[in-house]
């Protein structure tokens, strides 16, 4: 009889209920399907269709959670905290949207770029890896279970190493770059899982919300504190926080152009999201050690990154490498937003994640087009190309301006907010005036390295042997969509700001939005 009662309890789920899972499941299933078809002709369309589907899903999720509250999805019918839970609130819906938007926009670009840079026989498996990487990044963000974060981190990392190594068909140094990344990334993942082990030992749970509750109730002890250190350092390696960034320039330089575009705009962002989750939701800044970590370690490191990485970027002679160093500097801004520790700072950090993702994807796409046309991204090779391909270079200019943070572009908004956040804090601590000043000063360095590209592209003489022709239309469309949104979000600031603000509020609320309300997905 008990069984019959069980039947009566069950209400059938419909498609809308499954959205949080489908977000991850659709690209995940695409990967083996691509391998099973085993045909180069099917690989790209399948990957593209599933990216579009996951973009649609992420927008739908965003619509549901943007006013606050969260969606909880239990896997296998095992209720959390025992079972694995996917938990979507405004914060991760925001990051999911960034990842799936970039994933969808990069694929049309990748079609030509990968055809040009990689041997035909590798295409099928490359797209399968691409989908796995995409799955891993989405899963890391969507899940509400700490160990699940680790599993998805590994899925995305392992496929990333393969993707980076694919650059070897053009330049053998991609192999050492991928190997470096593999070693560093594995150390990072190991540290992360050691940290989780400690947390599990101290609390007996792996569900992020439950962890947050138990840590808040039992208070800090040495195990909980060292768990924090391991988690932050482990994820910090993936984020490329300043002294842990050594894998990044090589990996971004030697990876196939399309892969670099995808990774630069998503991989570090997903890892940064996990750091935010742990700093604000699982632990919270009420703990003195968490607060100290932010103010004594993150803050100076962020500022050092902003200056030193920008400074190194100025002297690069390879566009891709320059952009890679600039990425490290930009991660510094995002970290600074976290370390400022107020609502405005966190909003700025999340916004900058989005804006930088767009601008950097655009610039790396530009680099990819130049590689396609000239065979390399060294300044010597690409000099004067601006005059030969004005439409492409126009997009690069917009991306560059947004990277600097020129008013009228999206990059301005997030940097402006960051300065405001620092000034807000300077009321009680005048040291933050220096922080605000350093944001402005380091942006001047960005002006220098972005100007160098402009100078190379427009003011130098071009190689006469290279025909003046634009990039293929499949590459121009995603570039100009990105360029357009860099400008659009620079003027129409409300939309993105509101969402980022809600995301920041969610984080500051602490405890995985436990105080928020569960949103019922079903229409009835």
């Amino acid at each position: 009889m008990a069984n019959i009662a069980h039947v009566a309890e069950h209400t059938a789920r419909d498609l809308i209920d499954h959205l949080p899972l489908l977000q991850v499941l659709v690209p995940f299933c695409t990967a083996p399907v691509i391998v099973l078809f085993g045909s180069r002709r099917f690989a790209w369309p399948l990957a593209f269709i599933s990216s579009v589907i996951s973009l649609v899903i992420s927008v739908m999720l965003m619509m549901i959670v943007r006013e606050g509250g969260y969606i909880s999805y239990t896997l296998g019918g095992w209720a959390p905290p025992l079972g694995i839970e996917y938990r979507i609130d405004a914060t991760n819906a925001f990051v999911l949207m960034l990842i799936s938007t970039i994933g969808t926009l990069v694929l049309p670009f990748a079609y030509t770029s990968i055809k040009n840079e990689i041997r035909n026989r590798d295409h099928t498996l490359l797209y399968a890896c691409w989908m796995l990487c995409f799955t891993g990044l989405l899963g890391m963000v969507a899940t509400g279970d700490a160990f699940n974060v680790f599993v998805f981190l590994e899925i995305s990392s392992l496929s990333t190493y393969v993707l980076v190594a694919q650059g070897a068909s053009k330049d053998r140094r991609a192999l050492t770059a991928a190997y470096d990344y593999l070693i560093m990334g594995t150390i990072g993942a190991t540290f992360f899982v050691i940290g989780l082990g400690m947390l599990y030992m101290a609390t007996g749970t792996l569900n992020l919300a439950d962890l947050a509750d138990r840590i808040a109730n039992q208070g800090a002890n040495r195990t909980v504190r060292s768990g924090f250190a391991f988690v932050i350092v482990g994820m910090g390696l993936k984020v490329a926080i300043f002294p842990l960034h050594l894998w990044l320039p090589k990996a971004y330089t030697f990876a196939p152009s399309a892969v670099t575009v995808f990774l630069s705009a998503t991989a570090t962002k997903a890892a940064l999201y996990v750091v935010m989750r742990f700093v604000f939701s699982v632990y919270n800044p009420d703990f003195s050690f968490a607060k100290n970590t932010l103010e004594i370690i993150f803050l100076p490191l962020a500022i050092i990154a902003m200056f030193s990485a920008s400074f190194v970027a100025v002297f690069q002679v390879n566009m891709k490498k320059m952009l890679a160093y600039s990425s490290i500097a930009q991660v510094g801004y995002m970290l600074l937003g976290i370390a400022i520790l107020n609502e405005a700072g966190l909003t700025a950090s999340l916004l900058h994640m989005f804006n930088h993702g767009f601008a950097k994807a655009l610039l790396f796409m530009g680099a990819g087009v130049l590689v396609l046309k000239t065979g390399g991204s060294f300044y010597l090779q690409i000099s004067g190309m601006g005059r030969k391909m004005p439409i492409t270079s126009g997009a690069i200019v917009i991306g560059g301006l947004s990277l600097i943070g020129v008013p009228g572009t999206a990059g301005f908004l997030s940097k402006w907010l960051l300065v405001q956040a620092a000034l807000e804090r300077s009321a009680d601590n005048s040291l933050f005036l220096v922080v605000a000043l350093s944001i402005v000063l380091s942006s001047l360095l960005a002006v220098v390295y972005v100007w160098r590209i402009f100078e190379v592209l427009f003011l130098r003489e071009a190689d006469v042997l290279i025909p003046s022709s634009e990039a293929p239309i499949m590459m121009l469309i995603p570039m100009w969509i990105l360029a357009g949104s860099c400008v659009w979000f620079g003027f129409s600031t409300d939309l993105l700001y509101d969402v980022a603000n809600q995301a920041a509020l969610n984080l500051l609320e602490g405890s995985m939005g436990m105080s928020g309300s569960i949103l019922n997905l079903g229409m009835n």
Binding site: N3, H6, V7, L25, P32, L36, L75, G76, G77
Partner: protein, 147 residues
Amino acid sequence: MIFHHLILRVVTKLLVGTIILFALYVQFHGDFSPGGGFQAGVIMAVAFILYGIVFSLEAAKKVFPEWLVHKLSALGVLIYAGTGIVTMILGYDFLDYDAFSPLHPTHGQHWGLLIIEFGVGVTVTGVMVAIYYAFAGRPPCISDEEW
């Protein structure tokens, strides 16, 4: 044809079948005794790897061609995920095996586990053999132009 290592070859031929049988036992008896998809997959792969070591890589690739290895690795994942998709279509959560037998959830759980473990076994076999092929099939030394 290889003429040396007679004992090894005879013993291998005897063992390969037994190993595969044992792998199937570990696979499908996994819920009553130690074992499951991962262990079974490794044991299954061992049969092919042993065959490859003793009778040469080419012989192993004739039995278990490389394309099949790759397809199997993907197929297993799809069996696992597909089980979840079926439970979703039946109106339950992803991988909620109650869906297979709503009146007797225990049976449903049993069947569901059996299927997904089979998926795990298929993928692990594929991946293990693929790793062996990749290492064993490496060119012996790096040619000058590679540098």
